[in-house]
Symmetry: C2
Subunit: 265 residues, 2 copies
Amino acid sequence: MAAIQSPKSQYQQVADLLRGRIADGTYSADQPLPSEPQLSAELGVSRQTINRAINVLRNAGLVRVRRGFGTFIRGVPQVTRDAKKRYAARNQGTGAGDVEIKALGLTPRTEYVEIGRVPAPPGVADVLRIEVDAPVLVRRRRLFANDEPTQLADSFIPWDIAEGAPELLKRDVGRGGSYTRLAELGHGPVRFTEEVTVRTATEDEAQLLELDGGQPVIDITHIAWDAADRAVEVALHVMPGNLWRLRYDWDDPTADEYPTADGDA
Amino acid sequence: MAAIQSPKSQYQQVADLLRGRIADGTYSADQPLPSEPQLSAELGVSRQTINRAINVLRNAGLVRVRRGFGTFIRGVPQVTRDAKKRYAARNQGTGAGDVEIKALGLTPRTEYVEIGRVPAPPGVADVLRIEVDAPVLVRRRRLFANDEPTQLADSFIPWDIAEGAPELLKRDVGRGGSYTRLAELGHGPVRFTEEVTVRTATEDEAQLLELDGGQPVIDITHIAWDAADRAVEVALHVMPGNLWRLRYDWDDPTADEYPTADGDA
DNA sequence: CAGTGGTCTAGACCACCAC
DNA sequence: TGGTGGTCTAGACCACTGC
C-alpha cells in the first residue's frame, strides 16, 4: 500500500534499531542505554544522528533522559481512565484520581500545589459563566504514580458555592469527596461534560510533569453540572499523552428510532 | 511559579519568535515563510538552528512543510467531535463523519480505500471476540476537510452479520447509515464504548494523513454493542492530534447516592 | 574530576519543486 | 536550473551528574 519511499534517513533507522532493542530486552530498564558517543562508535554515525534518534524515542515517551547521567527506558504502563467509573468510586476514598493508579498496582500520591480563593482565570470564568476575576475556589493538585508525575488537575468552584463548605479549603475534603460536599449544599452534580484536546506541553507543564518540551499532552476540561444546569465545578486535567487511555461509554438514547425499511420522513 | 531556568536555547527562542509572527499576522497564510537561509541570515543563527525551530512548530501542527517549495502556515481550525451527537445524526445522511466538518463551513469528502471481506486482524478479532482470521467486513475510509485529510476510519463488522446486508459492501450503505442496516438485521447498536489513546503516527498513517513522522495522533477504538451485548462493529479512528476536540457527556447514574452527612457504610 | 546529554556551527550533499 | 527543505558530519562548548 505504501508508496515507494526513498531509504529511510539514518536517524530513523537508528531510532528503529533502538526501539527494537528496547522491545526485545537487549537494554534493561535498570541500566542506562549506552552513551551517545558509544552508540556513535558502534553504529558508525555521528553523535548528532544518535541524538536525533533518541529524540524520536523521547517524543514517543519511550525513554527518559536524565541529563548528565544517562538515558533510561520509561517503564510506566498505560493507565486507563474510565470517565464514569472514576466518579462513581467517590464513596471509596478521597480523590477519584487514585483509583486507576491503584488498579495497576502502583502507588498513588497527591501533591497539593495550591488551595485557596483566587480570581477566576479567563478560561475558567468563561466555562463557569461568571465574570473574569470573580472569586473562585481553586484546588491545584499534582498526581503521581510511583513518584512519577502522571497528571495535573486544577479544580475550580464558584466562590459563592464553595464558601458554604469549609472542608473544601482543606486537603482532605472529607468523606465522599468534593462532589458530596457540593451535594450537601444543594449543588450535587448530576451531569458531566468533558472536552479532550491534544497539544504540546507548555514549559510549565513540561516541568511539572517532567516531560521534554514539545511532548504531547492530553488536555481535559471536565465540567460538573447541577440539577439546575449550573456549572458548579471545572476541572482542568493535563496528562502526558502516552501515559493514559481514556474510556467512555454511553447508551444510545435513540436506539428505537432507526428509520424503518420502508422509509419515512 | 516556574523555577529559574537557564536562558532558553536558541532554537526555542527562534520557535517562539516564529510562533509570535504567525499569531500576529506578520506571516500570511498564502505566502510561504521566509526560507531557512533567509531566516538564518536575518536572525544570525545557523540554518540548522532555524530548521530545528521549524521542527518544533511542525510537531505542534502549526506549519506544514512542502519540500522543495516552502513552509506554510496550517490554517485549519479545530473540529469538535461530539461522541453522542455524531451517531444521533444518522438520519441526516450517510456518514456520521461529515457532520462536524460541515458545521465549520468546510467541505467534507470521503475516500473509500477498501470495502470487502477480509480475515480479521488480531486487534479487531480480539475486540469482536472472534477468531483471528475469521472473516469480517472491512470498510476503510479516509476523510477530508477542504481536501486536507482529517481522519482515517476503519470499520469492521463480523461477516456472519454483515453478509445479511449487501448494501454494506457498497460505498453508499443507504438511508440511515450502517447502524440502521445492522438494526434491520436485529443487531441495532444500543450501547457504545470508546477508548482514546495518544501516540505518534506510524509511517503509513503519517503518509495518509499528510503528517510529519512523529506527530501525535488520536487513536479511538469505537465499539458498538447490540441488545444482546455482542460487539457488532469496531471502528478504528486515527486523527491528527492537533486537529480535533473530542466531546463527551453523561449523566451521573448515582447522583442520588451521595453519602449522607451523618454517614453510613 | 570525568562522563553524560544539550546545543551550536560551517560546510556539505541530496531530493524535490517550479520555472 | 536555481531555490527549497532534509540530512549528515566533525568539532566544539556548555551544564549537569556522580564520584
